[in-house]
């Protein structure tokens, strides 16, 4: 039942984009590959994000579901999509807690629809956890090693 999948704009608690919130029901990865008109899709932990790469141009929203916060496959899915140049909304949904926010942001998520609404103050603090970071990722932050040596993030091809 594709039409009940996905979160609605009302569920989105944090969003780091200025464009209109995408308000389409998301379809499964399988249907997305079959249906040429779908613009929103939802990735489950076992899905291979790379099967979506041919369709990125027409997708405005990709939801990545975290049925349980301890299942970290969605972090790889998100980063893979951003590495492939996806610029639409990447929404983390499901069991998303305060202590996951900063890492999710670094993996390219720019919208968050947690099952249980989070304390706003705690969340603001969590997003700002790392003044600097060690690893290069799709958020293109200048890393600590890059700062140390006065170089800029490498442009990703």
């Amino acid at each position: 039942m594709d039409n009940v999948l996905g979160t609605s704009p009302d569920d989105v608690q944090f969003r780091f984009r200025d464009d209109e919130v995408v308000d389409h029901a998301a379809v499964t990865v399988d249907s997305c590959c079959d249906q040429t008109n779908a613009t929103a899709v939802r990735i489950e932990p076992g899905d291979d994000a790379r099967v979506l790469l041919p369709f990125l141009d027409r997708l405005a929203l990709i939801e990545v579901n975290f049925p349980s916060f301890g299942d970290g496959r969605g972090y790889s899915s998100a980063r893979i999509l951003r590495e492939a140049g996806f610029t639409g909304e990447l929404r983390a949904v499901g069991d998303v807690g305060i202590d996951q926010l900063s890492h999710m942001r670094r993996c390219g998520f720019d919208a968050f629809a947690p099952d249980k609404p989070l304390n706003e103050e705690d969340a603001t603090r969590a997003f700002a956890t790392w003044e600097n970071v060690y690893q290069a990722s799709v958020d293109n932050r200048r890393t600590i090693p890059q700062i140390r040596h006065g170089v800029n993030p490498k442009a990703r091809s």
Binding site: G72, Y75, D99, Q100, H103, R148, A155
Partner: protein, 543 residues
């Protein structure tokens, strides 16, 4: 030794502040134990049988005297006056109060230490050769590479919720003193035919209930692609490692089920993709790190000791390792006194070791995976003075690599997962072999004891391994023979039906007798076992 700059320090401080807030919310009751558990685990805080246990990271087993001193002070101030050095070159405190945890972390951060990623399903503290930077046989010092990987693996955004914990080991000599191939990823720094330095990767080793030796997955990774390659290994694991069964979730199962070649194929594909993503730190970073591990100012001096005191001569023979400078040795401080608890040290002993490191070893200490401490650079001329002070403090046991130098996990005395006690067994064995004088005759014999199938005591890799099992509610011990965690890595095989506590001690006596009767010139227990096989041991045990 590596020194934090403002950025490293800020990372640790940020974590301490975050944890203080979490502990406060737990104590106030706004976080339930279920919600708090994954958070405290990421800060090395476990709930055990009697109290909280805190595990402190000692990156690649290297620390300075100020840090060792602080560990001793924490043992006195917050624990019961001692700590336990572990097989992963870390330190555990067994009697911690939750209220104190954030203060301990703050005390640690003052000396550039922390408990980050010492538990949880993330990349754990990176281990290395305890003689790194000192041993005569190493290609280069492996620690700059380990430090580069430490930074990369700290708070990694993609790899914090892996299927299971992930342990990395970095060495740089043919001799393996760190059980490299029993890690999730083992890295050996090597030189290729063109004379360039690079990294050889192994993946999928581990102990636990399904022990496996890691196969080599790449012969040579150039140094300016080291982090990128590691990232590819981890991504394949994060995406495809099993999550349906926690006992099959380690990377060893993935590599085993896919087969080494298929895993390699997937890693190479991901690696090719990653090379375009700019994840490699600037090459200058490795060059920045290297000088921190530069040789101290070694001075020439006598190359031999006065052997007129036989006790001292024995200790020198047993507990020192050849150094790359011929006027120095690395000296092993045994934490295995006869009848003692393997790996335990009191606060006073820690402070003494700190003082001795300052006085005799350029301010440096190492933790060994065999739960001992090393002073890496001791002048041969200073050895007698050092030994005299160690002896006086109960730290002079001359038993490195002997049966008394056993590894033992905390077992049923502390651990909530244990089937059987490990510590009392270790104590009885060392007392017995010491009293009979047999230790000396046996030479190198690595005995390793785990209180349950999780294998924290490395029993699979023991020349003799003991595993505590539960038999109808009674403690029972399985004996196995023939394991090794050195460069000739092998897994021990079970002899047959298990034994009671008294029975297993008799059984060890029996198998060592078989060895003494059968050994040929220069053979260690392990060599004899490999030559004659299991049958003669079995016959002696059960025949």
């Amino acid at each position: 030794m590596y020194k934090y700059d403002q950025y490293d320090q800020a990372m640790v401080d940020a974590r301490v502040a975050e944890f203080r807030d979490q502990a406060r919310r737990r104590l106030e009751g706004s976080l339930s134990e279920d919600e708090f558990k994954p958070l405290r685990l990421m800060n090395g805080l476990y709930l055990q049988l009697h109290a909280y246990m805190l595990r402190v990271a000692i990156p690649y087993g290297t620390l300075n005297s100020e840090q060792m001193h602080a560990l001793g002070d924490i043992a006195d101030k917050y624990d019961r006056g001692y700590g336990h050095f572990t097989t992963r070159q870390n330190l555990q405190y067994n009697w911690i109060k939750l209220e104190d945890a954030a203060d301990i972390l703050a005390d640690l951060s003052k000396v550039e230490m922390h408990a980050i990623q010492t538990s949880g399903n993330c990349i754990r503290n990176i281990s290395s050769d305890h003689f790194a930077g000192a041993s005569a046989d190493e290609l280069v010092d492996p620690r700059p590479y380990a430090e580069l990987m430490r930074q990369w693996s700290s708070f990694h955004p993609e790899f914090t919720y892996l299927p299971r914990k992930f342990k990395i080991c970095v060495i740089a000599s043919e001799k393996d003193r760190a059980a490299m191939r029993l890690h999730d990823i083992g890295v050996q720094i090597v030189k290729n035919d063109e004379g360039e330095i690079g990294a050889r990767f192994y993946a999928g080793g581990g102990m636990g209930r399904t022990p496996m030796i890691a196969p080599m997955i790449r012969d040579f990774v150039p140094l300016d692609q080291l982090i990128t390659y590691a990232e590819a290994c981890l991504r394949v694991y994060n995406r495809y490692g099993r999550r349906d069964n926690k006992y099959k979730a380690r990377i060893k199962i993935l590599v085993h089920e896919l087969g080494r070649d298929e895993y390699v194929r997937q890693v190479e594909e991901e690696f090719a993709h990653m090379l375009d993503q700019g994840v490699e730190p600037p090459r200058e970073e490795l060059e920045r790190i290297k000088p921190f591990f530069a040789d101290p100012d070694f001075e020439d001096g006598p190359k031999h000791v006065d052997r007129s005191d036989p006790d001292f001569a024995l200790w020198v023979d047993r507990n020192t390792n050849r150094h790359k400078h011929d006027a120095y040795v690395s000296a092993v401080i045994s934490l295995k006194p006869v009848g003692g608890i393997p790996g335990d040290a009191t606060g006073d002993q820690m402070r003494l070791m700190a003082k001795l490191a300052k006085q005799y070893s350029f301010d440096e200490l190492r933790i060994m995976h065999t739960q001992n401490v090393v002073l890496p650079h001791v002048k041969i001329a200073d050895l007698h003075a050092l030994w005299t002070q160690l002896e006086a403090a109960g730290l002079g046991a001359p038993n490195m690599d002997s049966i008394e130098d056993m590894i033992a996990c905390p077992g049923l005395d502390y651990c909530s997962l244990a089937n059987a006690r490990s510590i009392p067994l270790a104590q009885r064995i060392s007392e017995r072999f010491d009293a009979s004088g047999k230790t000396e005759k046996l030479g190198e014999l690595k005995l390793k004891i785990s209180g349950c199938i999780n294998a924290c005591g490395h029993h699979h890799a023991g020349h003799i391994g003991i595993l505590g099992v539960d038999k109808k509610g009674l403690e029972n011990y399985q004996l196995s023979l023939g394991g090794s965690e050195a460069e000739d890595t092998s897994l021990a095989k079970i002899t047959g039906p298990g034994f009671t506590e008294d029975g297993v001690i008799e059984a060890i006596d029996t198998v060592t007798d078989v060895y003494l009767q059968s050994r040929e010139d220069g053979e260690r227990f392990l060599d004899t076992y490999r030559r004659i096989g299991m049958t003669p041991f079995k016959e002696a045990l059960y025949g």
